[in-house]
Amino acid sequence: MTDPAAEAGYAEHPPRMGFFTDTSVCIGCKACEVACKEWNAIPDDGGPLTGMSYDNTVGLGANTWRHVAFIEQRKPVATPAPDLDVLALAEQGDAADPFRWLMASDVCKHCTHAACLDVCPTGSLFRTEFGTVVVQEDICNGCGYCVPACPYGVIDRRQDDGRAWKCTMCYDRLGAGQEPACAKACPTDSIQFGPLDQLRERAADRVEQLHESGVADARLYGENPADGVGGDGAFFLLLDEPEVYGLPPDPVVTTHDLPSMWKHAGAAALLGVAGAVAAFVFGGAR
């Protein structure tokens, strides 16, 4: 398994910690959003009601580190437990007019290959011993480079403060042996926290269980270490395509292409010199 903490130079370190967010049991209570705001003292950014179902925080940003998405679809509910007949029937609703409601708590993915960390010019963003990615707010000079570098649209610059902010996976709580505030507050265990390898096993079992009980839509997102970001430290079980939830279907860390970018820039610079030489050679006598 990929070990970003060791790659970052930690000789000895605790196991890589992560989130497994199982959206099939999310009830959209937003306890995670609230707990995150409270624990991390994140400023209020409440605006007007958006009309986007129950979602009024819209997306992850400097002041929203957990974001619950609400998607209303004209699709039948796939019920995983046929023995709960009363509730199941209630959930099925009208077969002629199917409706389902997807809810998902999004968060920073703490990528194995993190673009935000790669492009940060001050070293403010760093890899922790837990394999997570954290901003040091006393270093950040607000250059904003991490913002468009993130393939998931997680990190953002806080307007009145000028610095970049995102989920720290409650680095302070982890250091004290506690679980992050969002996972602690989640009443359905939709947000599970633990060593990443254990979470991956648990997630694989859960998908299999859902497939067996007829939820064919269930799929994991971000769990694969062979994906474009080397796998996410926070991965998900989704019930539809990633883009339905506002997630990129095939994210790739931008620095994957950086060696080629530098080569092209070098070639362009040399061509610039050659062009200038030609300009003088054919510049005529003065």
Binding site: V119, G142, C150, V244, G246, P248, D257, W262, A276, A279
Partner: protein, 300 residues
Amino acid sequence: MVPDAEFTSYYGKPIINPPVWAVPDIPGYLFLGGLAGMSSVLAAGAQLTRRPVLAKSAKLAAVGGGALSVAALVHDLGRPLRFLNMLRVFKVTSPMSVGSWLLSGYVPVAGAAAVSAVTGRAPRIGALATAGAATVGPAIAAYTATLLSDTAVPAWHEGFREMPFLFVGSGASAAGGLGLLAGPVTESGPARNLALIGVCAELLALRRMRDRIGMVAQAYDTGKARKYLRASEVLSVLGAIGAVVGRRNRIVAAASGAALVAASATTRWGVFHAGMISAEDPKYTVVPQRQRLRNRSEAR
């Protein structure tokens, strides 16, 4: 023109967070860096071939452009007083880190070259500084392309192969244009040539990029990006024609030079806005990634 592909999104909201960089700071920073870097090359050539007026004006353009470029970057920071934190570390994975170090070395050297040229003092140190600035100059003009491309912004990232050629070309046409604007017609032959070469490189690189990047190219043909890039094309062509036709006329040459400088600036504004457009519309993120997944599963 590629037709709009079917795609899904979350209430039409962008997938990536759009850049927080402001206009005119960041497009200005791109433009001024290109102008400065290629002016240093022009200055060295002018000095070698004994064109003192052209050399002096190019050196002033180099230090002025370089210093203003740094000022624009610092002004755009969320915490400008922490600018020096850029020099805490050196990271090749961060083109902004590389650029900060390049600029910190380049601006003082270009400054020394300019001071020596204006005062006539310490000509040896001035010559050395001129050579030094000309060595770093092309890198100053090129790295900003890598800076933009090294993001998840589709219009910038997808175009990473052509972007440095576009930027160096744009820098060359700005530097040459400024040489035409400032220099006497007896000295400005190389400036005119540099501008013409720059215009060709710029137009070719942009054309090639738009042909290669598929549906993402639409961002370059939308809204403000389209407006600025059209303006740039018109100014480039007018400037190039004027530079050739009016090569013996001081006024026509100067007007052509001004048009070329403006063309270079509008190119950067256009590229900047294309990036913003592609960041704010989720289709530019979703459609190419879906295509990539399809290609991969077909290849299997």
